[in-house]
Every structure is written in structure tokens, then in C-alpha cells.
């Protein structure tokens, strides 16, 4: 053996290379199995419900304090990102990345039933009718569950993952899928009434506006479809992919795209105001009131744009990424954030001033 051991440069380099390789793999490679989503929120008269990471948390709307959480302690592989759905019988329906659906008592957070037959993650929120919970799954199936028992009433299969709840109009559900189709389904039987190929993935709940359905696609357009037969009424091109469906108020549709352009169209597809820039990509359907429309952006800012001449605009930087749909509750705007020290923020609708914040310890 030589007196002075001199490892070859190749060997010397391989050790740090392996270390760097391992670190880089850990940083990015796990994303396919480690759940990644943004908070889902909903609210009733007194309470906001936030599904994020390891828990669903009920937050008192007047104080911003926690009322309950489910589960009380984090459980392995249990992650929630789907917006919880409120039902008429006092339940909260929420799906998890462990493929299960949970029905919780809204008052106590106690588990009432679970549904465990889905083969894919529950990424999108459920839609509730009088007696059914319609749960979209990444296995491409829409599960219609009996609200009282959680037993499946029917299933509707599409060709690819479902990432959003269907829109429901009483007798029908309108469902967008990553398989590029939009489907109309009879609620009583689960039978397909029509389907329309949009040629591009749909990842949000369609918006119902009278007799038309509005839906954004990854094909850089907003599409209006006749709800009766699924025929395309018009297509309006956009600058970038449209993730969030529009909010409709007084015959106008408001939405944004992934390059941060804001669009205002009438229901004939004509642009009322050209694309107006926001500060960052928009994934969420905006919230809308009589006076203002509220957009949230991935860059972490809330924008209030006036609709009526009496209102004034404001914008409020909150930090983190604002990807979840904002909610209007009375005179408060609820905004959930990803990657910051506040999970939920309540803002004054008029001024944008912060009323209270709720920390993100739901994920811990």
C-alpha cells in the first residue's frame, strides 16, 4: 500500500455527487407520493371549515378561534386538501388523499361515517344535494353517496382523474374531467345525459349561469356550453391556461388565468373589459358581491376590483400562495394561504383590513 493514500479524482467526486444526488432527489422526487395541495375552505353561518394537511379544522367566524379539529392527532397518510362540503343534515363531507371520504358532525367534528371504496385520492371537494354527496376521485369516478349512511347510490366513471366537484342544478350534475370532457349526469340514476369533448383538461367546478355552463380549460380559453344538450355556445381565448371557473354577477363573468390576466365577459362571450393584469397567476374562482369582485393570486395578494361605481378598489398582500377559492361571509372575506404563518385570514370586505388570522398548525 502506498505511504500516502491518494484516492482517484473520480472516486473523490463520486461521494459528494451521491450526497448531492440524494438531497436533490429527496427535494423533488417525493412529490408524487407526498401529498401536495392547497387548503380547501367552506363556511356556514358561524363557522369556517378548513381542510389542510393533517386535519380539518372548524374555526369560529367571529373570533377566529378553533372550535374543533379532525382528527385530534395527525394520523399516518391522512391528508386533506379538498374543500369540505356542507350538507342539509348537519354534516361536513370531506375527502382525503388516502382515498377515503369522511362525514363529520359539523357541531362536534365527530366522525359519522366513512366511505373507503375509492381507488384514487380525493383531490376535489364534494357537492351535496338533498340526499347525496357527490365525491370526485382521482380514479376518474364520481361517487354518489347516501348522505345518511355513506353507502354508494351510484357511480359515474370518466376516463381520467377528477379534481373538482360537479356543479349541481337540482336534477343534474355537470362534471369536468382531466379526460377533456364535460359530462351532464342525471342525479337520480347516475346516467350520462350528454358529454362534450373540449379537447383540453378541466380541473375546476363548472359555473352555472342560466342556461349555459362556463368552464375554463388548459387550452387557453373559456368555453360556454348549453346545459340542455352540451353544445358549445362560444369559446373565448385567453392568454394562458384557465384553472378557476368564472364567478358570475349581474350577467358578467369574472375570471383570471395562470399568467395573472383578469377577464370580464358578458354571457355572450364578448369582452366587456380587456384583459387586466393582476400581480400573479390565478387558480381560484373569484368571490363576488354586489360591489366588488375579489381575486387571489399565487403571489399572495388579494385584489378587490369594484363592480359598482360606489365601491373603491383595494389590494392586500398576505404573503404565501393564495390558491384556494376565497369566500364571502357577511362583511368578511375569508382567504386561505399556503406556505405562510397564517392559514386563514379574515379581511374586511370594504377596506381589506385584517380582522383575524388563524395559524397553520392544522398541518402539524
Amino acid at each position: 500500500m502506498p505511504a500516502y493514500a491518494h484516492p482517484s479524482t473520480r472516486t473523490l467526486l463520486l461521494i459528494p455527487a451521491i450526497a448531492a444526488f440524494a438531497v436533490l432527489l429527496s427535494a423533488c422526487g417525493g412529490s408524487a407520493v407526498v401529498p401536495s395541495g392547497w387548503p380547501g375552505i367552506s363556511s356556514d353561518e358561524n363557522t369556517a371549515y378548513v381542510a389542510f394537511n393533517a386535519a380539518v379544522v372548524a374555526v369560529d367566524l367571529s373570533s377566529g378561534l378553533e372550535r374543533w379539529r379532525y382528527p385530534t392527532q395527525p394520523e399516518k397518510n391522512l391528508f386533506f386538501y379538498a374543500p369540505p362540503a356542507l350538507t342539509g343534515n348537519g354534516l361536513l363531507i370531506v375527502g382525503s388523499y388516502n382515498n377515503k371520504v369522511y362525514a363529520l358532525d359539523r357541531e362536534s367534528g365527530a366522525q359519522v361515517w366513512t366511505f373507503e371504496q375509492a381507488k384514487g385520492r380525493i383531490i376535489g371537494g364534494a357537492a351535496a344535494t338533498e340526499d347525496l354527496a357527490l365525491v370526485p376521485s382521482a380514479d376518474g369516478v364520481l361517487y354518489a353517496l347516501d348522505l345518511k349512511t355513506g353507502n354508494p347510490a351510484w357511480q359515474f366513471r370518466t376516463q381520467d382523474a377528477l379534481w373538482a366537484a360537479p356543479a349541481v342544478d337540482g336534477e343534474r350534475a355537470y362534471l369536468g374531467s382531466l379526460d377533456h370532457f364535460i359530462y351532464a349526469i342525471d342525479l337520480s340514476s347516475g346516467r350520462q345525459l350528454w358529454k362534450t369533448d373540449l379537447g383540453q383538461a378541466v380541473v375546476d367546478t363548472p359555473t352555472l349561469a342560466g342556461e349555459i355552463i362556463l368552464v375554463g380549460t388548459f387550452g387557453k380559453e373559456l368555453v360556454a356550453i348549453h346545459s340542455a344538450d352540451g353544445t358549445v355556445v362560444w369559446r373565448q381565448p385567453t392568454e394562458a391556461w384557465v384553472w378557476g371557473s368564472p364567478a358570475v354577477q349581474e350577467g358578467l363573468a369574472y375570471f383570471g388565468d395562470l399568467e395573472g390576466n383578469l377577464y370580464i365577459l358578458n354571457l355572450d362571450g364578448e369582452s366587456v373589459d380587456g384583459s387586466l393584469p393582476l400581480g400573479g397567476p390565478v387558480t381560484a374562482t373569484p368571490a363576488v358581491t354586489q360591489d366588488r369582485v375579489f381575486f387571489v393570486t399565487r403571489e399572495g395578494t388579494v385584489y378587490a376590483r369594484p363592480i359598482s361605481s360606489a365601491a373603491s378598489p383595494w389590494q392586500q398582500p398576505l404573503g404565501g400562495q393564495l390558491l384556494s377559492e376565497p369566500l364571502v361571509h357577511g362583511d368578511t372575506l375569508l382567504v386561505a394561504a399556503l406556505g405562510t404563518d397564517t392559514l386563514l385570514t379574515a379581511l374586511n370586505l370594504e377596506s381589506g383590513a385584517t380582522r383575524w388570522t388563524f395559524p397553520p398548525d392544522a398541518g402539524k
Binding site: M1, P2, A3, Y4, A5, H6, P7, S8, T9, R10, T11, L13, L14, I15, A17, I18, A20, F21, A22, L24, L25, C28, G29, G30, S31, A32, V33, P35, S36, G37, W38, Y81, R121, I123, A138, D160, A161, W163, L178, H180, G199, Q200, A201, V203, F218, G219, K220, A240, W241, W243, L258, P281, T283, R298, L323
Partner: protein, 257 residues
């Protein structure tokens, strides 16, 4: 910067190959990995030549004599080594440079594979940032089914006679091919420390990659297997594979006269 130069071109190339090959993501990964290997072949060759030259030098009698003569005189030893390198026209860094250039390409390759598979909204949002405008967005979502695997999920093979037991076939293949590749393509080291490191590598590298293959999306595991097999084939085609190394314990190479 890394996104602009490496990730974006890789993601979009992968998508175009996927489109061209009839929407089979498994085949797209195999072809893409092969193409990257071909493109980086000159670097691999250069690295190999340098390392061979260095290895030859370190096995020479003059090198060994210097080691013995200046044992305990670190400064003097380094001076003499430098002199010998110059004399023999060997640059110790010329073996490192191609490896350093290849590293970001390798990292970019597997990052592109992971990002393109986008199985959750956050990943899809990230993928949208990388899309070139001329790549059709109608390719989304990718068909991640390949043979029995969902390339976006960790792979397990369920057999009818073994209910409830998933066999991680790709993980096993990753471990075997990584071990083979490390054994067959790492040249014998002229010193004890180097041989020891190489021996450690042949144990830890397969275990590390097998762990990733077991835990993460099987698209990544497929890339590991293809990359390992191609590396072995590449070395074999160049006549550099030493099959006798397979089951031999690593020992320092003997000095040449």
C-alpha cells in the same frame, strides 16, 4: 436559471417525445434517457480517457516511488506529484470536469420526469410554468400507465396467487442494475482508500437508489433502470466493462513498472 437552461428544455422535449411516440410515457422516458446519454457521450468518453490516464499514472512505479520517498512530507509529496502530472501531461481536474457538467444534466433529467408526471394540483401548477407555447397543452394529463405500472405512483406487482402482497419489481431491478453498473464501470483503484470507497459505493448506491425507487413515483425508478442498463451497454461497447470485477473483492490495483 437552472429551470430556463435545463428543466424547461427537458420537460418540453419529454412532452414532445411523448406526443411523437403515441402518448406512451414509459417509452418516452426510455427514449429520452437514451437520447440524453447519446448527447453526453463525448463527455463520458473524455472523462473515461482522463480517468484512465490518471489511473495509469497512479499505477506507475515512479508514482509509487514518490509516495514512498516523501512519506510524511506532505508539501514535498504534492510538489513531486504536480511535477509528475506536468511531465506526463495529466491534468487531475480533466476527469472531474465532464462529471461536473454531466451532474446537472442527470439531475435535470429526473426532475423533468418527475415534474412532467404532475399527479397533484400543486405539481400541475408547477408544470404549467415550464410549458413552451408550441407544445400542445392537450397532452395534459399524460397517460402514466406503462405495462403494469402507474408511472406516477410507486410500483408494486400484485399477482393472483399472492393476494395483498405487492412485489416491488422495479425496486429490485434498480438495486441489481445499480450494483452491476457500479461494479462493472468503476475502474480498479490503485490505492487502498480508493478501493475501499469503491467497495462502499457498490453497497450504498444500490441501497440508496432502491429506497428512492421503492418510495417514489415508478417513472423515476424506470429512469434509474434504463440509465443503469445504458451505462453498462455503453461501457461494454467501448470494451471497458470488466466482467471479472463482478464477484471480486475490491483490492488496490498493483503498481506497474
Amino acid at each position: 436559471m437552472f429551470d430556463t437552461l435545463i428543466i424547461n428544455p427537458f420537460v418540453n422535449s419529454l412532452l414532445l417525445i411523448y406526443d411523437f411516440l403515441g402518448n406512451n410515457f414509459g417509452i418516452a422516458i426510455i427514449v429520452f434517457t437514451a437520447l440524453v446519454r447519446i448527447v453526453t457521450l463525448p463527455l463520458t468518453l473524455q472523462q473515461q480517457r482522463s480517468s484512465q490516464k490518471m489511473q495509469g499514472l497512479q499505477q506507475s512505479k515512479r508514482w509509487q516511488d514518490i509516495q514512498k520517498k516523501y512519506k510524511g512530507e506532505k508539501q514535498k509529496l504534492q510538489e513531486e506529484q504536480l511535477k509528475l502530472w506536468r511531465e506526463m501531461g495529466v491534468n487531475p481536474l480533466s476527469g472531474c470536469l465532464p462529471l461536473l457538467i454531466q451532474l446537472p444534466i442527470i439531475i435535470g433529467l429526473y426532475q423533468a420526469i418527475i415534474r412532467t408526471m404532475a399527479a397533484t394540483p400543486v405539481q400541475m401548477l408547477d408544470l404549467a410554468k415550464h410549458f413552451y407555447s408550441f407544445v400542445p397543452s392537450s397532452l395534459i394529463p399524460l397517460n402514466s400507465q406503462f405495462l403494469w405500472m402507474d408511472l406516477g405512483q410507486p410500483e408494486r406487482l400484485f399477482l393472483p396467487f399472492l393476494p395483498g402482497v405487492g412485489i416491488p419489481v422495479l425496486t429490485i431491478l434498480v438495486a441489481i442494475t445499480t450494483w452491476l453498473q457500479t461494479k462493472l464501470t468503476t475502474p480498479p483503484s490503485p490505492d487502498g482508500q480508493g478501493a475501499q470507497m469503491a467497495a462502499m459505493m457498490s453497497i450504498y448506491m444500490p441501497l440508496l437508489l432502491a429506497y428512492f425507487a421503492y418510495s417514489y413515483a415508478s417513472g423515476l425508478a424506470l429512469y434509474f433502470v434504463v440509465s443503469n442498463v445504458l451505462a453498462i451497454v455503453q461501457y461494454a461497447a467501448m470494451g471497458k466493462v470488466n466482467w471479472r470485477e463482478l464477484f471480486a473483492a475490491r483490492k488496490p490495483a498493483k503498481p506497474k513498472a
